[in-house]
């Protein structure tokens, strides 16, 4: 019973605390509330119309739009179970987001970043340093940046290693990503050596501000005095230096800051463009032996161009000294991460590991995969939109559902008499926990209840009630076998538990698989299904069964009152029953129309139809008389139903069929 109380009280306390500490209000749409958040179809939300613009001057194809819709959907899904609506409208993309859309969310959908990989020439702490030359002493290595050889700060050591096993886990769910601001309008990157870009612009091109002839993108000769001065004066603690934005020349070295402003960098020309990245995902790191470790990592997959370029880059970088063996992942001109390279990576599959948390790995993977899209979006309009489903319709639907629920209550009381009260109490209990959980999850995970979700909850009534029905029927079965209530509860529970767990496992399997494989509405459905399944099992184990055990001790039920739903008259076959120790118990026949004839105890279907051991006068028949009666009845059974006068009239015609099988 402790679990019972905890299972409802704990989520409730958490929710109450959430409401108290981080209440939902107009200016805090992400806050907690006792009312669960509603999805777009029930509550309305924000409609954002986005116009795509190409970042590389190429034609925007419908395929590219579809691809970007997928990426936008992925980004929204990974920020919660929100069920956004995304559609192409002409050349535009229309995004519907439930509730108030924060600036963060709008950035999330509208700002595909421009991502490039550049070799690191040098770096320093993010303030205008007195140290005029590259140094790695005394750096306070930050979260995202790499502090190769720096202090023992926890996030400092992203190591890069070849890993053919990418993306072991499912989609990681991180918090909302704060994408950096971008205009991202400059032309496609060109690299100097990998020749993977159509524009074939090399670092030696006249446009390059680097006056010296650099032999490769890692050449320190690229650091001109001007660059060095710029680097020295750069103050990454100033917010304006952290705005980022495109416009950096891909062929020229770049002086910039880390995303969090803790480090500043001089980087070589772009070697690989983000569009060469096919996928980026986060998951637990898998070692070369295939053992999954406890460490979070981001897995990258390049296309063929990217693979070639990445091989050349990593081959060169792996031979260089620190910090030049690092390459920086630059998102909109700011360094997201700068892993070091220890071995060449030939197959285009890389893994960035380090001290990621589950969330930070997901955020990076998200930024990387979004950055590989050659399309930028402009927010054309952003408007409030009402629910597509009229509030009136929802109310009608709910009223109808409630009527159905009331019928369920009536039916279970009719079926199980007072035991039905336990069903109703368990359902109420499950409903309460579900409500609190949904309110809690809509606060913590951005879960939104859609119409499909409501329907899922209504169907869940059937699933949940079935657990109790299976349980009660098993108890009744045990009582029919002649067991006492207390014993029947124990044995029935053991059998019911197995059935319930097995059947719920199927539900849980479906929920988990659909949740991880599907998107959008199906994902929301899977989530609701999984949630109600877990709650259902919890309620049966921690509420219904303990309550049943208590009930079994109450005289009203124990002694089988006719309104208890467990009365022996209704559940036991009539006749004499051996109860052990040389004693027998007699179960009087039920007083119904057919009770005139005492029933045979084992009552096989194929038992001779009239096992009347007493004739009409009540005198016990002799064996010979009984045989005669049996034969007569058997003969009657062969004839059409009209001949079955001696057979219990209420029995079905198929009874005759059983007779034949004899």
């Amino acid at each position: 019973m402790v679990f019972t109380i905890l299972s409802i009280v704990l989520p409730f306390i958490a929710l109450a605390a959430g409401v108290f500490l981080n209440g939902k209000s107009a200016d805090n749409p992400g806050g907690s509330s006792f009312a669960p958040g509603l999805a777009l179809d029930l509550q309305g939300g924000t409609q954002i119309i986005l116009t795509p613009t190409s970042t590389d001057g190429s034609e925007i194809t419908p395929e590219a739009i579809d691809e970007s819709i997928n990426v936008i959907r992925q980004r929204i899904d990974s920020s919660g179970v929100a069920e956004a609506e995304i559609a192409a409208q002409g050349n535009n993309v229309v995004v519907g987001i439930p509730g108030e859309a924060s600036q963060e969310t709008i950035d999330l959908v509208s700002q595909p970043a421009q991502m490039r990989f550049r070799p690191v020439l040098t770096y320093d702490v993010g303030v205008p340093a007195a140290a005029p030359e590259p140094t790695d002493t005394g750096t306070e290595a930050p979260a995202e940046g790499d502090g190769e050889g720096a202090t023992g700060e926890p996030s400092a050591e992203p190591s890069e290693e070849s890993s053919p096993d990418t993306s072991p886990g499912g989609k990681a769910r991180g918090q909302a990503v704060t994408a950096p601001r971008t205009t991202a309008t400059d032309d496609e990157a060109a690299t100097d050596e990998a020749s993977q870009e159509p524009t074939q612009e090399s670092s030696e091109a006249p446009a390059t501000p680097a006056p010296t002839e650099a032999t490769d993108p890692s050449d320190l000769a690229q650091i001109t005095p001007e660059l060095q001065e710029q680097f020295t004066n750069l103050d990454c603690t100033q917010p304006e230096n952290l705005v980022g934005g495109g416009g950096d020349d891909p062929a020229a070295p770049l002086v910039t800051c880390s995303q969090d402003g803790s480090l500043k960098w001089i980087l070589g020309p772009v070697e690989i463009d983000g569009t060469d990245l096919t996928t980026a995902s986060s998951g637990l790191r898998v070692t070369a032996q295939g053992v999954t470790t406890n460490e979070w990592a981001v897995n990258l997959n390049f296309d063929s161009q990217g693979t070639t370029a990445f091989r050349q880059t990593t081959t060169r970088l792996s031979t260089l000294e620190s910090p030049r063996n690092q390459f920086a992942i630059v998102l909109d001109g700011l360094v997201v991460s700068a892993p070091s390279v220890s071995t060449p990576i030939p197959n285009g599959q890389a893994e960035i590991s380090g001290s990621f948390t589950r969330d930070s790995a997901a955020v990076l993977a998200n930024q990387l995969s979004f950055g590989s899209l050659p399309i930028a979006f402009e927010v054309q309009s952003q408007e409030q939109i009402s629910a597509t489903l009229g509030s009136e319709q929802l109310r009608n639907g709910l009223i109808a559902g409630l009527i159905g629920l009331a019928l369920v209550v009536v039916y279970s009381l009719f079926q199980y008499r007072s035991l039905g009260m336990l069903t109703v109490a368990s359902l109420v209990w499950a409903g309460l926990i579900t409500y609190v959980s949904i309110a809690l999850l809509s606060w913590l995970m951005g879960y939104r209840l859609s119409l499909a979700g409501v329907a899922g909850l209504i169907v869940a009534i059937g699933f949940t009630a079935d657990s109790f029905i299976v349980y009660f029927e098993r108890i009744r079965d045990e009582m029919r076998d002649g067991r006492s209530l207390a014993y029947a509860v124990e044995r029935g529970w053991r059998r019911a538990r197995r059935t319930v767990l097995a059947a719920k496992s199927v539900n849980l399997i479906s929920a988990v698989i659909l949740y991880f494989l599907a998107v959008g509405g199906v994902q929301g459905f899977a989530f609701t299904l999984g949630l109600t399944t877990v709650i259902d099992v919890a309620v049966v184990f921690w509420f219904t069964h303990p309550a049943m055990q208590l009930i079994a001790k109450i005289p009203f039920f124990r002694d089988g009152h006719s309104w208890s739903g467990l009365s022996p008259e209704r559940l036991r076959a009539a006749g004499v029953r051996y109860v052990g120790a040389g004693r027998v118990a007699t179960q009087p026949a039920v007083a119904t129309s057919e009770s005139a004839e005492p029933e045979m105890a084992f009552a096989g279907a194929a038992a001779t139809p009239t096992e009347s051991r007493a004739d009409a006068s009540g005198r016990r028949m002799t064996i010979a008389e009984r045989r005669a009666a049996e034969r007569k009845a058997a003969a009657a059974a062969e004839t059409p139903p009209g001949g079955q006068t001696s057979v219990d009239e209420s029995q079905h015609a198929d009874r005759g069929e059983n007779e034949e099988s004899r």
Binding site: T388, A400, L451, A455, D466, L514, V522, E630, N658, S661
Partner: protein, 365 residues
């Protein structure tokens, strides 16, 4: 069942005093399912499912500068121009109404625009029309389909391992697929538009169907656990007893699951007029009813048919029948015959089974 309570009826089903020959009549059920299944396939093939705006895209009308944002006016206007259309109406930004319909031809677009302009008392020029793409594109469908395939395979593997019989899992999956086909057929026959809610409904059916089969099969498993170590009854008889014993549960569960859905379908959709709820509740109603029925009438007989081919079980069934034949040929007492044929009944501890069940004396005397 006159003069008899439901509990007593369940009682009789449990003991086997009353027994419906579900397994024995399997040809009948298979025929019925085949007829329904073929009819569904025919309806799906000829009529097909009408995909809604979410799948195919459609026309979108934006009425600017409206003074009233009542959504009903738009519904009435669209339906006056294109009868039978179920538009989705939303208010955008406070002074504009967005109306989405299925794809209309040029004439219909013009009609609807005029009707909308009239309904909201604005100029025709204030009604902008455009084509809107599907929110539930091919990508989403593929992901969902992929998820379902993986889930069904996983569930099949789980059942095969749990019951330690792959034939049982095959029977469950086949029955579940026929449920889906029949539900889809009924939906196509009614002719309502397929919306994302419908898809969710079908997924729910899939889940419920497998769940229900799992519960019924677990009872079969319980009854047939030690079937091979006795010679009283065959596998089929024990399975039939299981179906009869679980009949009360199946009826109770289906009623409890159907009542709320029926509430939404009949009260909500047909009487109160909650149009968008009806597609979901219809697919759920049909699916749950079909799913529960097929657990009894299709899945279990199919399981008996399939598992009857398992060498051990086939051998055992033959042995039991031969033994029964022998007893009958020797012309034992009626009671003996009764006991030998009582394979479909439940053994109840402590109950006397009649003299026929006592050890037999050699016939010589």
């Amino acid at each position: 069942m006159a003069g008899m309570t439901f509990a007593q009826w369940g009682n009789d089903l449990y003991t086997g005093r009353r027994s419906y020959p579900v397994v024995a009549k399997r040809r009948t059920w298979f025929t019925i399912v085949a007829i329904f299944g073929l009819a569904s396939v025919a309806v799906l093939g000829i009529k097909g499912l009408t995909l809604g705006i979410d799948f195919r895209g459609g026309s979108e009308f934006t009425v600017e500068g409206v003074t009233t944002t009542q959504q009903d006016a738009a519904v009435t206007a669209v339906q006056s121009a294109v009868p039978g259309e179920e538009p989705r109406v939303a208010v955008v930004g406070g002074s504009a109404v967005r109306v989405q319909t299925t794809q209309l031809d040029a004439q219909e677009v013009e009609d609807v625009s005029l009707a909308l302009a009239e309904a909201y008392d604005v100029e025709r020029a204030d009604v902008a029309t455009s084509f809107v793409g599907p929110t539930w594109g091919a990508g989403v469908s593929m992901r969902a389909l992929w998820g379902v395939v993986v889930f069904v395979l996983a569930a099949a593997a789980f059942m095969a391992i749990y019951f330690r019989a792959w034939r049982m899992s095959v029977a469950a999956i086949v029955a579940m697929l026929s449920d889906l086909v029949i539900s889809a057929g009924v939906y196509a026959a009614v002719g309502w538009e397929v919306t994302p809610s419908t898809i969710i409904g079908f997924l729910t059916i899939l889940g419920f169907s497998l769940y229900d089969k799992m519960v019924v099969f677990d009872k079969v498993r319980e009854n047939t656990q030690d079937v091979l170590s006795q010679t009283r009854s065959t596998y089929g008889e024990r399975a039939n007893l299981a179906v009869n014993q679980t009949l009360v549960r199946s009826i109770n569960t289906s009623v409890v699951a159907l009542l709320p859905v029926a509430g939404i379908l009949f009260v909500g959709a047909l009487w109160l007029g909650a149009g968008t709820l009806r597609d979901l509740s219809l697919s759920l109603f049909v699916g749950i009813a079909v799913g529960a029925a097929s657990s009894i009438f299709l899945a279990t007989p199919l399981d008996v048919l399939l598992r009857g081919k398992e060498p051990k079980i086939a051998q055992h069934t033959a042995a039991v029948l031969a033994e029964r034949e022998r007893v009958a040929a020797e012309g034992g007492h009626d009671a003996e015959l009764a006991a030998a044929a009582a394979g479909t009944s439940q053994l109840i501890p402590g109950h006397h089974l009649g003299h026929g069940a006592q050890p037999r004396r050699k016939r010589a005397r």
